[in-house]
């Protein structure tokens, strides 16, 4: 807890988080449009039909991106004949998917200042994406850390590996809770339902349940035996994930996944991804320091993130039963952002309380 890197990393993380949130919430210029054309490669100028040519200027670079086939190229815009057509200098590849995306490439300096544009069909609620996806990435990363640390623990029986296993599972569960809370808020608008038994959702829910059971076991069996038993559970939990995904894929419900076409959106997502990964690392570090101190104090006990998470989930459940139409995407977006920070801050407060308590205990013991 005395490391000098802490303040520096904390300031950096929160600065990046605020910047990412600003980019996510602000209303930026739309950079992408769609073309219904099927075009061949050509060394001569090609006229492309687009939904709107307003985003382009002559001399800009257009990014032509066929998502399904993964073909992506950058070409110069040489003319704009009317509001629904754009002429590019040449085409290196065939784009025969219907429709494919064409985007305007902003210079990097300008990109840094441009917040994410509002999505056409989903509206503001799509902005939850910038919190939801990084939280999922962090959760997966932390669970991977837990798996690796558990194996190292079983192999070498090192107390450090066990410490990282338990802290990464707990912090991972906090991020997984954010994913499970923000997902339905977005889904209510985008899919018109709070929850769909879709493979990715179901897998994530099962993953969440598995790590809750890991932490419950951790609490129920303390000491050396508890560490070994929970390491075994961690391995079972990790093995379970592919089966969970496959079993639900076979059940058949499969709403289309969302892909980001707009380069502005991608950039904002990357900023947030970096910010939240740093944030996860910071919390993990803080949590493992606490764990170290708490292990030194013999009366230490491991608290669960799950308990707070359950309370957070139970309260909004009251609203879930209301059948309402004409939902406002902006309200839902704000709900997603607020819910995310309620969970993160609740966890941070919990850690602070734990730290204060440990300090008091340490003082009493004269450590």
């Amino acid at each position: 807890m005395k490391s000098k890197l802490y303040p520096l990393l904390t300031v950096l993380t929160f600065a990046l988080l605020s910047y990412g949130t600003y980019l996510g919430l602000g209303n930026g210029p739309v950079q992408a449009t769609q073309s219904p054309d099927r075009v061949d490669a050509s060394p001569k100028p090609v006229v492309l039909a687009v939904s709107s040519s307003a985003i382009f200027k002559v001399g800009d670079t257009a990014i032509i991106d066929s998502v399904d086939s993964g073909v992506r190229e950058k070409e110069m815009v040489i003319a704009i004949p009317d509001t629904t057509h754009v002429t590019v200098a040449k085409l290196d590849h065939v784009h025969n998917e219907n429709p494919f995306a064409i985007a305007d490439k902003l210079p990097f300096a300008q990109q840094l200042k441009s917040p994410a544009p509002t999505e056409f069909t989903m509206g503001n609620v799509q902005r939850i994406f910038y919190y939801h996806v990084p939280a999922a990435t962090c959760a997966y990363t932390l669970f991977l850390v837990n798996f690796v640390a558990s194996i190292i623990f079983l192999w070498k029986r090192s107390a450090t590996a066990d410490l990282w296993a338990v802290t990464s599972a707990e912090v991972g569960l906090v991020f997984a809770t954010v994913v499970l809370v923000t997902g339905p808020i977005w889904g209510r608008i985008a899919w018109n339902t709070w929850w769909a038994w879709e493979p990715r959702l179901t897998t994530f829910l099962v993953l969440w349940l598995l790590y809750v059971s890991y932490l419950v076991l951790r609490r129920s069996a303390e000491g050396g035996a508890g560490a070994i038993l929970s390491a075994a559970v961690a391995i079972f939990a990790f093995l379970d994930v592919p089966f969970s995904y496959m079993a639900n894929r076979l059940r058949g419900h499969h709403p289309p996944p969302v892909t980001l076409e707009d380069p502005g959106m991608k950039f904002v997502l990357m900023v947030n991804m970096l910010a939240f990964l740093l944030f996860a690392g910071l919390i993990l570090w803080l949590r493992s320091d606490l764990e170290k101190v708490s292990r030194k104090i013999s009366a230490a006990h491991i608290q669960k993130a799950a308990r707070g998470a359950m309370a957070c989930l139970a309260l909004p459940a009251v609203f879930l039963f209301q059948e309402r139409q004409n939902l406002n995407p902006t309200t839902f977006m704000l709900a997603g952002y607020i819910a995310t920070w309620v969970i993160y801050l609740a966890y941070l407060l919990f850690l602070m309380a734990k730290m204060a308590k440990l300090k008091k205990e340490a003082a009493e013991l004269g450590m």
Binding site: S213, A225, G226, L239, F243, S244, A247, L250
Partner: protein
């Protein structure tokens, strides 16, 4: 070496079967529990023949999942009471023999239970299968193995914890969700005749192999965890 391992497994299995034959407390509790679940579900849903084909797969496996949990908790609790686990730890016999003996004896109990419950299910729910009976038999075998292998492993784990019996469902149910999804899916596919149960059955088979391997690899550590 293999010979002695086989003999150990046989000795463990024979001991479990003899204990159960003389007391019959686990099997009777399990049978009555499963019967109650079937009757209560039948009251709760009052299904017609068409509906029951769709529902039966789910009800059937949920009934077995819960009664398996009843049986598994008992099977290790008995060993703990009599100090068998401590004795086993100091003996040179491999832990895997104990696990396999336990798994096979539990498998026999649950399979017997299924043989008794399937006719009752058919009777109460007016069931008639649209698909092949042989496929159902294979699904029953794989599904029971999946429940029993994980269940026996986690039961051995849960008796080492502070809240013993309470811990087993908390550990077993999340890990078993994919297996339950595929057994219910496969059973429903056979009963209703909609689609092929084969992909689900293959997945279930792979699940059985992977988790059997994991259980055997980790059991020694669980038994000796201090």
């Amino acid at each position: 070496m293999t010979n002695s391992l086989l003999r150990l497994i046989k000795a463990n299995l024979a001991k479990d079967l003899r204990l159960e034959w003389r007391s019959r407390d686990v099997f009777n509790a399990m049978l009555f529990f499963a019967l109650l679940v079937v009757v209560i579900f039948s009251f709760a849903f009052e299904p017609t023949t068409e509906e029951s084909r769709r529902l039966a797969g789910g009800l059937f496996w949920v009934a077995f999942l819960f009664s398996t949990i009843v049986a598994l908790n008992q099977s290790w609790a008995r060993e703990l009471r009599n100090g068998v686990l401590d004795a086993y730890r100091v003996s040179p016999a491999p832990a895997e023999a104990l696990l396999l003996g336990k798994v096979v004896s539990n498998f026999i109990f649950v399979a017997l239970l299924e043989c008794l419950m399937v006719p009752l299910f058919i009777l109460f729910y007016n069931l008639s299968s649209a698909g092949s009976i042989w496929q159902l038999a294979v699904i029953l075998f794989l599904g029971t193995w999946a429940l029993v292998i994980n269940g026996t492993f986690f039961a051995a784990m849960s008796i080492r914890t502070r809240n013993r019996e309470l811990m087993l469902p908390l550990l077993l149910l999340p890990v078993s969700i994919p297996a339950v999804t595929s057994m219910v899916g496969a059973t429903t596919a056979v009963l209703t005749g909609d689609g092929s149960p084969l992909p689900q059955m293959k997945l279930l088979a792979v699940y059985c192999v992977v988790f059997t391997a994991a259980s055997f690899a980790l059991f020694d550590m669980v038994l000796n965890a201090e």
